[in-house]
Amino acid sequence: MILAWVHDVVEGVRSCLTGMRTTGHYLLENLRGSGGATAITREYPEQPAERVGARQRGHLVNDAPRCIVCHACDTACPVDCFTMDGERDADNKMRASRFDIDLSKCIYCGLCVRACPTDSLSMTPAFEVDPRHDGSRFLFRRSSGQLGQRLDAPDVERLQRLADQPRESLAAADRAWLDQHIDPNGPHLIGMYGLGYFTPEQKQAADAAREAKKRAKEAAAAAAKAKAAAAAAPPPAPPPPAGGTP
């Protein structure tokens, strides 16, 4: 019995020491800065990030001309990132007049990309956001020749950066690069606050104008309806007073 107890204690001490030897080894290794995760850890904001892989899910980009404003992505999104408006262009096709993706809500699940019937929505490997941005500025108009062109992470970053500034203020080289990658005709850049708006005030004004127009249109429609109703109402109206008292 005593021998069993001695053996038990010795075994216990020995197993503790074995464990501590292992961890002590790690400890020393770590302090020397070699081995373990320490040696391969990148301190991200200070050191540049590595691209994880081609299928990394980063920021969303919408290729504006291909988008048909079908709201499939909007429906698929579990957290309601999208705010979009559409309008008819010259060929009577729907195109996005506003397509904001609130990246502060996005959980990068990729459901919207799968839902998109025209493949205009795609994910890029870019994942860094300048904290000054509100993150909704990824709509670029590209001409049909440029649609096949893939925008890589650095490209998207550059686009994002340049998209913050009005075109006139860009350097010539930047402007040329932009023209190469996105449609040089028309308001090809959608600024960070939406289609061609570079300040929140611009966008607010435009939104307000659109709202006002919509309300005016609705009011007009309502008025027309009321008028029509008024025009249609009199004929059935008279009978009750006429034959109301049989």
Partner: protein, 467 residues
């Protein structure tokens, strides 16, 4: 000798402008004893937390806190000092200061080491809501953290930091330590009961069962040292461990035979259990009890429990050093250290005690981040079936040594009390004291190995081998 006690009297008399009343004495005690103690232990415990996180990271092969530097707190200090200047001037001064090369290097290193972490943690804790659950027993719930802190801090009063740096010299300081640190049990029980939460209650019950059980081996271990040194005064125990010559080390209790070494191990393991550290963190046991007795605590009240835990760890470290490792004495050449001017000697002694404490502290962390948590029954088994028998065995061995050796020597007359005699072993009995028990142990272990083989008995039972 007791500079601090004298300082209390003087200050109290000065405050009262005559013979001091209780109020003046309380104020003086607060100013001379409590405030410096808090000022010393709080930062040390906070630093211990960072150290722990770094060590944990290193053992788990990651980096640990590496971004929170001291530049943020420094900026706050600048703002506070220069509060009359406009904001940009403050910032410019701060930037100029930070751009000095040594400052910048220091700040960078403080970031890399995560030194600002405890400031951030403290501010975070201050900002948290103090929640008292509806079902809680309010007064008990609120009071428990304070009691835990008191239990963790009181034992420091009698601890000799240096020859002239003891707050309270009593003849029973070893008993005082055991008695006051027992307050923590009550605090944990109160926290568990007062929270009105089943996890807390279970954690509190476990804490009480564990702490009360481990008081026994701790008490026996301290008793062994007391038996050997013939005094209950910690300061006198330190004085007993003095040895003249180069190797003061040889006088340390831990060198006085395998029984005291065994007691050191028992004390250390039981101390580990006393401060509820992994592998003995039964009372918190995240994976079983959410957070055990402090499940319902938030903000500063939680912080007090954390602080009490670290203070207690430091206390165990300091006690191990005091009881077994020569206290504040230098391992070599203590006799020349004593020739230095008092202030320098005091400083060096305090630093040496700090270094010894730190070593034990590091060992505790190493163990914590290596071993998994015990089961409740294993914890009890370890206390009653391993530590207590070992402690009793050592006590017996020490008693027999004392009977046989008998001879005594004078230790250094440290502290208020003259040291009492303890056996003076010349080299032959000293060697015998080491060799005989160690040989006996080796024989026993070999016999056990021969009988039970290399495999653990539990494993053998499982596989049905050797039945």
């Amino acid at each position: 000798m007791t500079g601090l006690g004298h300082a209390v009297d003087t200050l109290a008399a000065w405050l009262a402008g005559g013979p001091p009343g209780w109020f003046a004495v309380t104020l003086a005690v607060l100013a001379v004893w409590v405030a410096p103690l808090l000022l010393l232990v709080f930062p040390v415990a906070a630093f211990g937390q960072i150290l722990e996180r770094k060590i944990a990271a290193a053992i788990q092969r990651r980096k640990g806190p590496n971004s929170a530097g001291l530049d943020g707190p420094l900026r706050l200090v600048f703002r506070a000092v220069l509060c009359l200047l406009p904001r940009e001037r403050q910032d410019r001064a701060f930037a100029a200061f930070c751009n000095l090369v040594p400052v910048r290097t220091a700040l960078l290193w403080s970031r890399r080491l995560g030194l600002g972490q405890f400031v951030a943690d403290g501010i975070k804790m201050l900002g948290k809501e103090d929640i008292v659950p509806r079902g809680a027993d309010g007064a008990v719930f609120r009071f428990a953290p304070y009691l835990a802190l008191v239990g963790a801090f009181l034992p420091w009063c009698v601890l000799p930091f240096a020859q002239h740096l003891v707050m309270l010299e009593t003849e029973v300081s070893a008993l005082f330590v055991l008695a006051t640190s027992g307050l923590v049990v009550v605090a944990l029980k109160m926290a568990g009961w007062g929270s009105g939460n089943k996890w807390s209650l279970l954690g509190g019950m476990r804490a009480v069962a564990q702490l009360v059980s481990y008081e026994v081996p701790i008490g026996l271990a301290v008793g062994g040292v007391v038996l050997w040194c013939g005094t209950m005064d910690l300061h006198a125990i330190v004085g007993q461990q003095y040895a003249p010559g180069v190797f003061t080390l040889l006088g340390w209790n831990v060198c006085q035979g395998p029984f005291l070494l065994l007691l050191l191990l028992v004390f250390f393991v039981a101390g580990l259990a006393e401060c509820q550290r992994s592998p003995f963190d039964m009372a918190e046991a995240e994976s079983e009890l959410v957070s055990g007795f402090n499940t319902e605590y938030s903000g500063l009240r939680w912080g007090m429990f954390a602080l009490a835990e670290y203070t207690e760890m430091l206390l165990i470290g300091a006690l191990v050093a005091t009881l077994f490792l020569g206290g504040y004495q230098s391992p070599i050449g203590e006799q020349w250290l004593l020739l230095l001017p008092t202030w320098l000697e005091t400083l060096l002694h305090a630093l040496i005690l700090g270094a010894k404490t730190l070593v034990v502290f590091l060992l505790m962390m190493w163990i914590r981040w290596t071993l998994p948590r015990f089961r409740v029954d294993q914890v009890m088994r370890l206390a009653w079936l391993v530590l207590v028998p070992l402690a009793l065995l050592s006590l017996l061995g020490i008693a027999v040594t004392l009977l046989v050796a008998g001879g005594t020597t004078e230790g250094m007359a440290y502290g208020r009390l003259a040291a009492r005699p303890r056996p003076d072993l010349s080299w032959l009995p000293w060697l015998l004291l080491w060799i005989v028990p160690v040989l006996a142990a080796v024989v026993l272990v070999r016999a056990a190995n021969a009988r039970y083989g290399g495999r653990h008995p539990a494993l053998r039972r499982l596989t049905g081998e050797g039945a």
